[in-house]
């Protein structure tokens, strides 16, 4: 089974082999799917050399592949994910990945389920990890995008520290709003548009924060990080 990425240049009529950098690589496989959404290539599933069906999702950036320094990443799923499978169909449609059917783990049983993956954000996501980064994805957001992140670390008595590595909102009518509580009805802490990286935010210490980027095109927020306080108060007031 192969795990290499080769590029055929349509203009130059030539093959080049890419070199993957970094320690994490997808296992060699066949019967997987491969779909490009904007500049990001996603691969999903397939069967490895041991005959195991896989349900893993990997991604690389097209420009990194062209530059000869292909770096694989494993996008963090924000929802349930399709069961392991091979021989399925997948395609890209308006910024989403559609996946259909295939052959599953139980005696190669044929599957008839359909899945849709939105790169970046979609709907409500609850983040419970002690530390992490998230993004609404590269490139243009879909029209009428309304995705919300709800940070609620599983660690008890944790505080949330949120900081930004990138903000790029093209339309001034679109906004990223941060609320001090479980819902967007909680007090509004801050609201941003444009491309100035906002200062970090430390909401009141109840370990919950809700974020809602505005509707519309051109929203890109990267690297928002829920981070429990390194010295949480061991005796929080009730």
């Amino acid at each position: 089974m192969y795990a290499d990425v080769a590029l055929y240049d349509l203009r130059r009529n030539s093959w080049t082999q890419t070199t993957a950098v970094g320690s994490e690589l997808p296992a060699g496989r066949d019967g997987h799917s491969m779909v490009a959404i904007d500049d990001t290539v996603y691969i999903f599933g397939g069967v490895n050399a041991k005959g195991e069906k896989m349900g893993d999702l990997w991604a690389f950036n097209a420009y990194s592949a062209v530059s000869g320094q292909l770096q694989w990443s494993r996008p963090t799923p924000m929802s349930d994910t399709p069961a392991p499978r091979w021989g399925h169909a997948a395609l890209a449609s308006v910024g989403t990945l559609l996946l259909l059917g295939g052959s599953g783990t139980e005696d190669d049983a044929l599957l008839n389920d359909a899945w849709q993956m939105t790169a970046g954000c979609s709907g409500n996501m609850t983040l419970t990890a002690a530390r992490g980064a998230f993004t609404d994805g590269a490139g243009y957001a879909l029209n009428n995008l309304d995705c919300r992140w709800h940070m609620k670390p599983a660690v008890a008595h944790s505080n949330v520290l949120l900081f930004f590595s990138n903000l790029d909102i093209a339309d001034p009518n679109d906004r990223l709003s941060i609320y001090d509580g479980d819902t967007v009805n909680a007090p509004l802490l801050a609201s941003y548009t444009g491309s100035t990286i906002p200062p970090s935010v430390r909401p009141s210490p109840h370990g919950a924060i809700a974020l809602r980027p505005g509707l519309g095109l051109g929203l890109s927020v990267r690297g928002l990080t829920p981070d429990p306080d390194p010295n949480p108060n061991p005796n929080p007031s009730p």
């Binding site: 590029l7 055929y8 203009r11 093959w15 290539v41």
Partner: protein
């Protein structure tokens, strides 16, 4: 057909000359109006090199219609194969770079893996084998491919049916004798 807005499936019967039942075929959609099926294998593992065009029409009221592709030049048709990839690409050697299709690899009639590239012209229904420079990927089937940056065909993974799977990657225990 799956309606992406409502999530509802509807079964659509197509008119015309449908392809024979098969697996491992490729199926690409061109400009939302038509789709092309190429190759694959029958239940008794006979590999195919035939091609079918599915006219999708417009709107849900249109009945899709199959049409068997009559090749412009039989001599340039790629060898029969299954588990290859087909990708819609711009044909840069033609004025205006119209869309064409490239197939890569797969498994031939003798179950040998392939590493060849063939280009299909949707206007003339003719094939042309490409002779690229550089080092092609090793022959393979069951790989996946996609168009990158509107100028590159990217290929990932796949296997070689002539290499027993358990020997394909180092570091795994040998199978019991």
């Amino acid at each position: 057909m799956l309606d992406l807005q409502t999530g509802a499936w509807t079964e659509r019967n197509a008119d015309g000359a449908p392809p024979t039942a098969r697996r491992g075929a490729s199926f690409v959609v061109l400009s939302q109006k038509s789709a092309y099926l190429f190759g694959g294998e029958s239940a008794d593992r006979v590999r195919r090199q035939d091609m079918f065009l599915l006219h999708l029409g417009s709107g849900s009221s249109t009945v899709p219609r199959w049409e068997a592709v009559v090749y412009g030049d039989l001599l340039t048709v790629p060898p029969a194969r299954t588990e290859h990839t087909a990708t819609v690409v711009p044909l840069f050697e033609q004025a205006g770079a119209p869309l064409g299709m490239i197939i890569f690899g797969g498994m031939d009639g003798d179950s040998r893996p392939l590493a060849d590239l063939h280009e299909f012209d949707f206007d003339t229904w003719t094939w042309r084998e490409l002779s690229p420079t550089g080092t092609p990927p090793t022959a393979r089937k069951g790989h996946a491919a996609c168009l990158l940056l509107n100028s590159l065909l990217a290929v990932f993974g796949g296997g070689n049916p002539e290499v027993p799977a358990v020997h394909a990657e180092p570091g795994w225990p040998s199978p019991p004798p």
